[in-house]
Symmetry: C2
Subunit: 216 residues, 2 copies
DNA sequence: CTGTACCCTGTCCGAATGGACAGGCGCCCA
DNA sequence: TGGGCGCCTGTCCATTCGGACAGGGTACAG
């Protein structure tokens, strides 16, 4: 049994964790060594347990799964990681891959494919579905960091975006952030340009679709 | 063993189904008699298997879990139903309760509470978390159907809302729907009024938050 | 020190937005 | 045969939005 793959399951839904544990337990070469329901727990348990593979949900209650992954990388912890998410449109998948995830799985994936994915990643391989793979390829082909699909918003732009989503108008946003209305328009214009949106409404929906913004 | 509660699990994520089956199987008085991954399957299997309790996800790949429930009610099938969803802000929860669901559970619910909920509902009780319960109470206290929280959009308004979310402006929406720009403004105004939004951007985010619109 | 990125501010202007009037047509139900 | 509702259309107007000019300040890396 020394060949078993030691797995840590990180997801904020008990059901999903139980589901993963249940189906992973049917495989003789898998053993789930721990669970985590928050980003902080994920870092802590990974450091403590040193699993072979980390199954990580992007939507953790205390912030982002990507943050947890970046936190681990900063601590030089190179656990092989599979992102486990409900949507393949989530921009954060790309962020996660950049942060060192070896692959990702949709929650709709058949269980056999999940087993195979874990074994592949554990064996040193990586695993991406066509959608993500093609987006990454566009990165490589262009050989550039300036990918219109992968915009990096500045902190201030995120502030404006958040208020934009709440339906505030420029003047109100200016009041909230203690800046002039003109400056708000400056940041809004930057958002439209970076997101490729034609107006503030489209900017908000596109940001949501890319996982840059969550409507709480 | 004739006292076992026969359960049908409907969710479009295999993992969630497996998770439910796994934890439900630990209870001697539960038996999962079937699974469904789409709304159509849910109706079909419920009619075929007549489970005691239906665990139903709101987000089914082929449309709405609520639709499946309404379809069952139209066929006079009164299976006791628990909605199983990730968000408690979803307007569809209220729709589901109106369609005859006895309760709902968040996917973040601890497994013991899930067991208890199933037994409660099977025993003829109902089960609502404080958030949903209070919203329903507001319905009853007001004794009215005109609940500002539960707006009913007309088909045309939904058309406009969908295009609004894509960032189209009035003139473009008019072209898409083959109506005048003025009429678009009429429907937009109706949306703002019904949703209580101050502008189109807020209307879109509020609609998404209430489950009236999904950003595909 | 020079470049670069981020943040902030201004004026001017055409276009889009949303509200306040007002009205017509078809359908269904009491 | 009303009345209600959904859907459609119009004009007028104040406000908002977004772009096209401009520019200045700070912080940090090479």
């Amino acid at each position: 049994m020394s060949e078993q793959i030691r797995i840590l399951v990180a997801d904020d839904h008990p059901i999903v964790r139980d589901g993963l544990i249940a189906i992973l337990s049917t495989q003789a070469d898998f053993v789930v060594v721990g669970e985590a329901s928050t980003g902080a727990e994920t870092i802590e348990r990974t450091l403590a347990l040193s699993p072979d593979v980390l199954l990580l949900d992007l939507a953790m209650s205390d912030g982002d799964g990507v943050e947890a992954l970046i936190g681990l990388r900063e601590r030089q912890h190179m656990v092989r990681t599979i992102i486990f998410t409900a949507y393949d449109t989530d921009e954060r998948i790309l962020s996660a891959v950049r942060a060192g995830a070896q692959g990702y799985l949709l929650k709709g994936t058949p269980r056999e494919d999940i087993f195979q994915a874990i074994r592949t990643v554990h064996a040193g391989g990586s695993l991406l579905t066509p959608v993500v793979a093609s987006r990454l390829l566009r990165h490589i082909e262009r050989g550039t960091e300036t990918d219109p699909e992968a915009v990096a918003l500045t902190p201030r732009e995120e502030d404006v975006l958040r208020l934009l989503a709440r339906g505030l108008q420029n003047k109100e946003i200016a009041g909230q952030l203690h800046i002039s209305e003109r400056t708000v328009k400056f940041h809004v214009a930057a958002l439209l340009r970076k997101l490729g949106a034609g107006n503030r409404t489209e900017a908000v929906t596109m940001a949501v679709q890319r996982g840059l913004l969550s409507l709480s």
